[in-house]
C-alpha cells in the first residue's frame, strides 16, 4: 500500500492563536508546530473549538488573533493554505444524483489531482465495487469511505479530519488508519478532531481545554465581542 506523492517540508505553524465562534472567544494562546509525518488528535469537550480550529486551519475562517502558516516546499510552495489542505469527515460533499465515479472525477478536476486512480483509491477503502452506483443509494459508512477516497485521488499534504471514523466499522477504520500512516510516511500531516482514540503511532494529543479563553473563575484571558459590549457603563 503506497501513496506515490511525497511531501517536502510540509509544515503547520500556529503561534498564540485565538479562536472565537460568534461573539464568544473559545481558545486563546494556542501555539503548535507540526512537521511532515506528524499526527495530532484534537480533543476537548463539545463546543471547545475543535471544528473551529479545523476551519481556521483550512482557511475557511480567520483566527481572531495570532499567526498561522501552512506551508511546504516544492512546486506548490506559494499556494495559500486553502489549496494545501483536505477537509475530511463530518459532511461528505457527495452528490446523490451522480455516480461515485462522477463525484470523484469532479473533485479531481476541481482540485487538480495527480494521485491514485479512482478505482485504486476506492479499492484501498474497500468500496471499489460501488464505483458505478449513484451516491444516493450508498449507506452512511459507504458514503464516508467514498468521501475519504477524495483525499487519495487529489493528493494534498495536510489532512484535516473531523470525526473521520464516526460512520466507519472496525475493519474500515483499520483500513483508513493504514492510509493515514502511509500519508504520514510520505511526509504528510494529519490533524484529526475526534472523540474516540485513534490507533496511530506517535500520535500527539492536543486538548483544546488546555487553552481556554475563559478561566474557571469566569475571568477572560482574551477580549471578545461579548466582553466588548460589557465594557459600557452600567445601565
Amino acid at each position: 500500500m503506497k501513496v506515490c506523492t511525497v511531501w517536502v517540508e510540509a509544515r503547520v505553524k500556529i503561534k498564540e492563536l485565538a479562536l472565537s465562534r460568534g461573539e464568544r472567544a473559545l481558545v486563546a494562546g494556542l501555539s503548535l508546530t507540526l512537521v511532515g509525518g506528524d499526527a495530532v488528535a484534537l480533543v476537548g469537550p463539545n463546543g471547545s473549538g475543535k471544528t473551529s480550529l479545523l476551519r481556521v486551519l483550512a482557511g475557511l475562517a480567520e483566527p481572531t488573533a495570532g499567526d498561522l502558516t501552512v506551508s511546504m516546499q516544492g512546486a506548490d510552495a506559494d499556494l495559500p493554505r486553502n489549496a494545501l489542505v483536505h477537509l475530511g469527515g463530518h459532511q461528505d460533499g457527495l452528490k446523490g444524483a451522480l455516480t461515485v465515479r462522477d463525484n470523484l472525477e469532479f473533485w479531481i478536476a476541481y482540485f487538480g489531482g495527480a494521485g491514485l486512480s479512482i478505482s485504486k483509491a476506492l479499492d484501498q477503502l474497500g468500496v471499489g465495487h460501488l464505483v458505478d452506483l449513484p451516491a444516493a443509494i450508498l449507506s452512511q459508512g459507504q458514503k464516508r469511505r467514498v468521501a475519504l477516497a477524495r483525499l487519495l485521488v487529489a493528493p494534498r499534504p495536510i489532512w484535516l479530519l473531523d470525526e473521520p471514523t464516526a460512520a466507519l466499522d472496525t475493519a474500515s477504520t483499520a483500513r483508513f488508519l493504514t492510509l493515514v500512516e502511509a500519508h504520514r510516511r510520505a511526509g504528510g500531516i494529519v490533524v484529526a478532531a475526534t472523540h474516540t482514540s485513534l490507533d496511530l503511532s506517535n500520535l500527539k494529543t492536543l486538548d483544546l481545554g488546555d487553552y481556554p479563553a475563559h478561566r474557571q473563575d469566569g475571568e477572560q484571558t482574551v477580549k471578545d465581542a461579548e466582553s466588548y459590549w460589557l465594557e459600557s457603563e452600567p445601565l
Binding site: N82, L87, K95, L98, G112
Partner: protein, 222 residues
C-alpha cells in the same frame, strides 16, 4: 480554469438529473404566463400590449425563485466548504455556479419564450425583441439572485426575505427589458438605447452580484 469548467459541467449535469429542477423554473414561467390572461381577460389587443411586461415579470419571478437553492444544496452536503479549498477566490466559483444555473434554468426559459409569446398574441418583431432582451437581461437577474442565494444560505429560511431584498434591485432590468420590447410594438420608441442600457446593467450586475455573493458566503460560513 479546468476547475471552473468542471464546476459548470457538474452543476449543469446535476440540474438536469432527478431532483435537479432545471425545468421547474420554465414550468413556473409557463404557469404564470397561462394564468395571467384569466386575470386580465382574453382580449388579444390588451394581451399583446401588456405581453412583454407579463413575460418579463414571469421571467423575473421564475429566476429569483429558482435561484434560492443555488448554494443551499452544496451547503447541505458540505460541498460548499470543499469548493473553497482552492487557491482561486470565492468569486470564481460564484461565477461558475451562476453560469451553470443560467445554462440549466434561464436558457430553457429564453428558448421557450417565442412559443409562449404566441399565447399572448405578440407579433414576430416583438417576439424577436423579447427573446433578445430576455437572453441579455436574465444573466443580470441570475447574478443579483446569487446575492440573495448567498443570503439564503446564511439565513437558512431566507427565501421570502431574499425576494424582498432582491426585487427592488431588479427594477432597472425590468424597465430596460420591457422598454426595448415595447419599442418593437410601439413604433416611435427606439429599440437600441434601452437594449444597450439593459446590456450595461447586466454587466454591472455581474460584477456587483459576484462580489456581493462571494462576500456574503464568506461571512455566512466563517
Amino acid at each position: 480554469m479546468s476547475a471552473f469548467r468542471a464546476l459548470i459541467a457538474r452543476d449543469v449535469r446535476l440540474a438536469t438529473r432527478v431532483g435537479g429542477g432545471a425545468l421547474t423554473g420554465t414550468l413556473f414561467f409557463l404557469a404564470v404566463i397561462v394564468t395571467i390572461p384569466f386575470g386580465v381577460g382574453p382580449d388579444l389587443n390588451l394581451l399583446s400590449r401588456i405581453g412583454p411586461a407579463i413575460m418579463w415579470i414571469g421571467a423575473l419571478l421564475a429566476t429569483l425563485i429558482g435561484l434560492e437553492r443555488l448554494f443551499q444544496s452544496d451547503k447541505d452536503d458540505g460541498a460548499l466548504d470543499l469548493l473553497r479549498l482552492t487557491d482561486s477566490p470565492v468569486s470564481n466559483f460564484v461565477i461558475a455556479k451562476v453560469i451553470a444555473h443560467w445554462l440549466g434554468s434561464s436558457l430553457p426559459l429564453v428558448l421557450v419564450t417565442p412559443l409562449l409569446s404566441l399565447l399572448l398574441a405578440l407579433e414576430p418583431r416583438a417576439i424577436l425583441a423579447l427573446t433578445a432582451t430576455l437572453a441579455v437581461g436574465t444573466p443580470a437577474l441570475s447574478f443579483l439572485g446569487a446575492v440573495g442565494a448567498a443570503l439564503a444560505v446564511t439565513l437558512r429560511r431566507g427565501a421570502l426575505l431574499m425576494a424582498v431584498i432582491i426585487l427592488p434591485f431588479s427594477i432597472p432590468v425590468l424597465i430596460f427589458g420591457v422598454a426595448a420590447t415595447r419599442a418593437a410594438i410601439v413604433d416611435p420608441d427606439p429599440f437600441w438605447p434601452p437594449f444597450a442600457l439593459l446590456t450595461a446593467t447586466s454587466l454591472i450586475y455581474a460584477v456587483i452580484g459576484t462580489l456581493g455573493a462571494a462576500a456574503t458566503l464568506k461571512i455566512g460560513d466563517g
